[in-house]
Symmetry: C2
Subunit: 619 residues, 2 copies
């Protein structure tokens, strides 16, 4: 290829026939879709019947890199997984830290596409141009750390990069994740899709390199980065010292948006038992980081005394403190460390897991389910034993865990009554710890995000920082579009969203300046906006073919109808009228049909998706 | 209720919470939806998110009766199962013989709705108003006959009616069926939906009755029936003596529409080894029948000598002779008896099973898959050992059986190459032994049927009988609509489609005359047409919400592009141009939008489905 940052090849793996093949990608394709989620959504749109179920063997797992992997640009030590999601039934991608992204490049590929279903448990070992299907029968049932270790040992390479599922993925827990080293491709249940394919792990090793188009220009950019990053406290002191738990105090005490007891309120009186200062002073062991990351927001924490003594985890991050802490009404960070480590080992998303437990607690307290349904457990907020027992039951689908393994939306539809109103999810994906009621942009953002309740489609950070007034309705659609353009481009380059504090909260020239040295595209800002819109609208088109419309762009009824009950944001929420107003503006600006939420033909043609427009015309 | 034939109650069973409840149905509802598939599709449309996967615990199994069950009207010894199908991802219903339909009425219900997922294998025992969830752990892995016997023994009632799945259902083979006595709710994979819910069986016993509205009028109708049926040779000699295998000779030798070797042709030179005369003379043991059926087309056949000596089965019917015989290139009816009995015991649809094996044979012969993929088996047409081994491997999802358990469409999408062109299915459902090339009505009928490749949506019988010219294009849309109206009403009354030879091939006044004595509705013909259209369009609306459009109303490419290669119908087929012409006419007559295939608002309002029109407007 004439551009930098690409190998020009996609490895295709068929688990059923155990055959592999190479698909070449063109310069034009790379420039049009950039990498990461851009590549993934194009492949999935073309390869998958959007009506299939996520566990259909014709579902495709896209394991993708962007142009940055393996070049040691700050925060690029990552890779992306995408598939049709068993939680949302729509397009889903999830990014994880891990050296495996670089190794894919070094092995000579921009990504791997996996189709079919092995008849017995296997793992794939990609060693440059050699691909082996290896038995995973002795690995089946193993935790994620064991699995990685056993594969490294079998291959005889202690530095081998392995992405693995745990028992939760094997048991098709709908929010099972994929673990690489200690990092998770966490959300949306791609671990369950791997499980449905009898694919325990993917190991990749490469001996090549990945080269930027213009090393001098990249060096100049690096110099700029090193100067500028010093001016950003979050990236030089906040996150490096405390990690994301630093958010607990401000989100609870300043913003009053710390989801508590399944969002019965958003101010948690027990926040001090969950805060970063406590974590740092009493639980911190050492810092950790994704490869090539100077920020190093990850920490190893362990519990030195008390009920959960001995628990050790890389993490918990802010979202996990929210989901197992305030959401479950628990003010003991030791419990959260224990829960976090269990989720990592079983291979489950901590957000969906904690929020689903919290949902079941509310159902129990409201009498919609009883001890008969909970294997005798007292599902009351604050019951830490229930949380720990639930995690194991979910991963193994035992008793009430079998229901919770389906996530909060499906659980609500089975439990019935009025429970769906307080299932804290959008399109089936549980909402993380950034308030849809205290932040207006997240209200609109969650509603329209391709992935559902995700804080990596729109980002909350700019509203916390005051770059957009968190209470404003005017102009919010435009703001949300800007943040979604940035996250989409970030997920195509595959760099960390934390860089928003340096590069900006919405897509801008700085992103162009970061991409061009590596790729040599010579993008203009306008061209990069088109790339972002192309990827976002292709995600939407995938979802539209899967049945998603404006009717699905909404929030839990609780958020639309109940203002926050207490704390600094008491009284705030976005009602249905206001949401609809923002939605109208959003569709208008996007060039989507207002009645249906389907991208218009004109818009799709303008961004070079004529073929997609033709597909949507058949609906 | 003021009408006859109804109990006015639906039993709702939640497998997750192990709770049950009663839903009352109104007179208006009964009159509007009649019963059977009319009830089922209304409940499923209202209860199911159409975007879920079939194995989602929120999928609903509707086990329904019509007004006729338990009244001993000829051929009404049946019941209906419906759910979202794992094969088509659309609405699906399947009717089976069995006393259990009458027992549901006798227990006081018009049907049972089952939602959720048991955390461990269970079976449900409905004993009048008592409902028990009983452990099925010792039944898991058992064959269908054993399962029924063990449940009868456990309950202590040798006459108990039990509908059960076999290992295929447990293993979620996408075309797993549900067996009651020796009869199957065969098509569309509802057995797999039961398996996904950990529901091994449903047993029902009732002590009540079901009463017609007007016993005198019904007696008069019975008198008419008994006189008229004597004039119909098919119902008094053909089917009673030979069963459906009598079709082999005429379909092969007269119509040249006997799918052979995966439809590489439609004339099977080995037909004599599969014909009814041979079956009757050398294999027949005794006749059999559904409850209340004077036709008794079923037979018990056994193999007295040769390779398959000892095999015994109720059946095979014509479709099974086609799928395992001519389609697999096998001219030994003994093999078919063996295959049939295995499918019944493992609980699998014989049509989809045989057609999928046939598909894999063609892939193998064309080199698209090799011995590496087939566990070393020689997948050549005519290899009877491969057929028998495949059935076991499919049911247990072993080796290549794991792929075949997905059906031909999904297998084709994984195998790739040009294989999808000769995957003999529509919307994922394998086509039975009634030619889409030799019968023009079936070409259109399969394309538009709610269930996909089903010969119980449109019926071939009228074209065989010459009531509609099998080669004509003109007027065929209207003919197909007429036959679909009849089957739909037949599936709502729940009576056997064989009665078409007496009542007529398309909906007419005779159906009205049969319904009114039982229900007391006093339907006019026009009103009954509206009932039929309401049910059919509601099925379509369910499918539309699940993503099905005109683009999906098509046939395998082989049928559209390759004329029949040999035999009496050599050269016949329906090309894409002709199919499109018929489709245009069909949509026009139906009041469906021609571009999309979606029922228009005007049509839906006219048939009393305003709420459905509003739902579809959100798309």
């Amino acid at each position: 290829m004439k551009y930098g940052g690409y190998k020009g090849k996609i490895l295709r793996v068929n688990l059923t026939t155990r055959k592999t093949s190479i698909m070449e990608i063109t310069d034009e394709f790379a420039r049009k879709y950039l990498g990461g989620n851009g590549f993934a959504v194009r492949f999935l749109f073309d390869m998958i019947d959007p009506r299939i179920d996520a566990f259909d063997p014709t579902n495709v797992i896209a394991m993708m890199t962007g142009p940055f992997q393996g070049i040691y640009v700050p925060t690029s030590g990552k890779y992306l997984l995408a598939a049709k999601s068993p939680l949302t039934n729509g397009y889903f991608d999830s990014i994880s830290g891990g050296q495996i992204g670089a190794e894919i490049k070094y092995a000579g590929y921009d990504g791997i596409l996996i189709i079919g279903r092995a008849d017995k448990p296997v793992y794939i070992f990609v060693d440059d141009d050699k691909v082996e299907f290896k038995s995973a029968e002795r690995l089946w049932g193993r935790l994620t750390s064991e699995t990685q270790e056993m594969i490294k040992e079998e291959i005889g390479d202690p530095r081998l990069s392995v992405s693995a599922i745990g028992p939760a993925g094997e048991n098709k827990v709908r929010y099972a994740c994929v673990i690489t080293e200690y990092r998770a491709a966490g959300r949306g249940g791609i671990g369950a899709v791997m499980g449905s394919k009898n694919l325990k792990a993917i190991a990749v090793r490469g001996s090549g390199t990945n080269e930027p188009a213009n090393p001098e220009a990249l060096e100049a950019w690096m110099k700029w980065y090193n100067e500028e990053v010093k001016k950003v406290p979050a990236l030089t002191t906040g996150l490096p010292v405390y990690g994301t738990p630093i958010l607990v105090s401000s989100i609870n005490n300043m913003f009053g948006g710390f989801g508590t007891r399944n969002y019965q309120t958003e101010y948690f009186e027990g926040w001090e038992g969950l805060c970063a200062e406590l974590l740092k002073s009493k639980y911190w062991d050492k810092d950790s980081a994704c490869p090539a990351c100077p920020i190093a927001s990850s920490k190893i924490f362990s519990v030195k005394e008390g009920k959960w003594k001995g628990a050790i985890s890389e993490g918990p991050d802010y979202e996990t403190i929210y989901s197992f802490g305030s959401m479950c009404g628990i003010n003991d960070i030791g419990l959260v460390i224990k829960a976090d480590s269990m989720c990592d080992e079983y291979g489950m998303d901590t957000v969906s897991c904690g929020v689903t437990i919290s949902f079941i607690m509310e159902c129990y307290e409201k009498g919609l389910i009883t001890k008969e349904n909970t294997d005798g457990m007292e599902f009351k907020f604050g019951n830490d034993d229930v949380v720990i027992q639930s995690i194991e039951k979910i991963a193994k689908r035992i008793g009430i865990g079998d229901l919770m393994a389906e996530g909060s939306l499906r659980a609500a539809r089975i439990i019935g009554g009025n429970s769906e109103r307080f299932a804290i999810q959008v399109k089936g994906l549980e909402i993380p710890g950034h308030s849809a009621r205290a932040l207006r942009g997240m209200a609109l953002g969650y509603a329209v995000a391709s992935r559902g309740g995700s804080h990596h489609d729109p980002r909350p950070t700019g509203e916390y920082a005051g770059a957009s007034d968190r209470k404003a309705v005017e102009g919010k659609a435009s703001w949300v579009i800007g943040t979604m353009r940035w996250t989409t481009i970030g997920d195509s380059m595959i760099i960390c969203h934390f860089l928003e504090r340096l590069l900006g909260y919405t897509l801008n020239q700085r992103h162009v300046d970061m991409i061009n040295p590596v790729t040599g595209f010579g993008y203009t800002y306008e061209e990069l906006v088109d790339v972002a819109e192309r990827i976002l609208d292709l995600e939407r088109a995938f979802n539209v073919r899967a049945g998603i419309r404006r009717k699905d762009d909404t929030l839990p009824r609780r958020f639309l109808e109940e203002p926050i009950a207490s704390g600094p944001s008491k009284g705030m929420h976005t009602d249905e009228f206001t949401l609809n107003k923002m939605l109208d503006e959003f569709y208008e600006l996007k060039g989507w049909d207002k009645r249906t939420g389907i991208p218009t033909k004109e818009k799709l043609i303008r961004i070079g998706l004529e073929d997609v427009a033709l597909e949507l015309e058949k609906l």
